[in-house]
Symmetry: C2
Subunit: 210 residues, 2 copies
DNA sequence: TCATGTGAAAGCCTTCACAGCG
DNA sequence: CGCTGTGAAGGCTTTCACATGA
């Protein structure tokens, strides 16, 4: 694999894949960087740079859709499916369980955790809910290396050390608190309140940037 | 207002505010940039740069919590409350309605929209649901300039022109499709699938970056 | 003395611009 | 001829490092 791929490029691969996936169900066999770019909201240069790392040669008709798709899948989807667990089965947690169930076969939601006794033992959107106490044991049993955090902000603070001990490799954190984890664990923060406040700020500002 | 504030700085103001808000309910009257930084997951230099734009003088004991809070609020929260509408009352839409209801008094969720007749007319998490047909009329009536999009990907494509006509100033887009809007409208994309796929990629990669 | 405020340097990401190839 | 692939330039963001002030 190419060693120096930036986080942003990886994110855009995911965008491109969505488009290519849709294209692959049509008659269109080739796509131009300019097309891919316009439909993804990036520039053509940037799309070409991102595709460069995939080492798929384009031609005068552009890139072959199937070839790109294969190359991006090879990067984003490892050979073995990855198990994912979700911690915090509130409104947002349930919405995400439903959203992700069966969406990407290589990412399987194998367990949910909560502290609410009413939720424990239930199967929610196809995913069994366990007590948070059993986190380490069940993550180990299911070989889950990725967790989604959808807890109230205060609750994540104590979770860091447990995630480290459980051998977690990546976290998708929806809680509005900073997780202090070693750099070997990838943390992807999704801060919805911040995003809305940014939107509100720029809505109220005359001079728009970007 | 300082003219050249970057989007990233605005986002971090929102982070800092959350922390300062919590601090303001404690005895602690001053905070050091290094403290603020550590607890927000940024460097001390960066925190100081971000605070620079607020023109709040710090001293040897650091910054006064209340002064910072006032300055950030002045930036992020305009004098008048801003009305927000949400389009697409599925699982994620409902979770966000519940999440945002009453959280920030200066951001008021005034209307939800859907095409499902079963949802129209109901009040969901304190927010009335209207038919999507009436979008323009109701956005105008409620003076909503910010919309949250939580629809299936395909459905947003046709929405662009309607949002422009309705005079929308900012969009928080959870749909995995590119919105083609003029640069005068701020678009904040929150792509949950992309975030999870990034997390999965870096979970599977040996060399972690960042 | 110790923390801020900030020029200057470094690093990262995007865009330009064009050689080269099908 | 038009599009890709990519060095080089440009722009943005972060970090360094230190003068300044309480």
């Amino acid at each position: 694999m190419h060693p120096d791929v930036s986080q942003k490029t990886v994110g855009r691969w995911s965008l491109y894949r969505r488009l290519l996936d849709a294209l692959s169900r049509t008659e269109q066999r080739y796509i131009l960087s300019s097309d891919l770019a316009r439909r993804s909201g990036v520039t053509a240069s940037q799309a070409r740079r991102d595709l460069m790392h995939l080492e798929v040669a384009g031609g005068a008709r552009g890139y072959e859709v199937q070839a790109l798709l294969r190359a991006i899948n090879a990067q984003l989807a490892p050979a073995e499916p990855q198990a994912v667990a979700l911690i915090g089965v509130g409104n947002l947690g349930r919405a995400l369980l439903s959203y992700f169930q069966g969406r990407r076969p290589t990412l399987q939601l194998v367990a949910a955790f909560d502290i609410d006794p009413h939720k424990i033992g239930r199967v929610i959107h196809g995913c069994r809910c366990y007590p948070l106490d059993e986190l380490e044991a069940i993550l180990e049993r299911e070989a889950a290396r990725i967790v989604i955090l959808t807890l109230p902000g205060e609750a994540v603070a104590t979770l860091g050390p447990r995630l480290i001990k459980a051998g977690i490799r990546a976290v998708l954190n929806f809680a509005p608190s900073h997780l202090d984890l070693p750099p070997s664990i990838h943390v992807e923060d999704v801060d919805i309140t911040m995003s809305l406040e940014k939107a509100a700020f720029f809505a109220a500002t005359q001079e728009q940037r970007s």
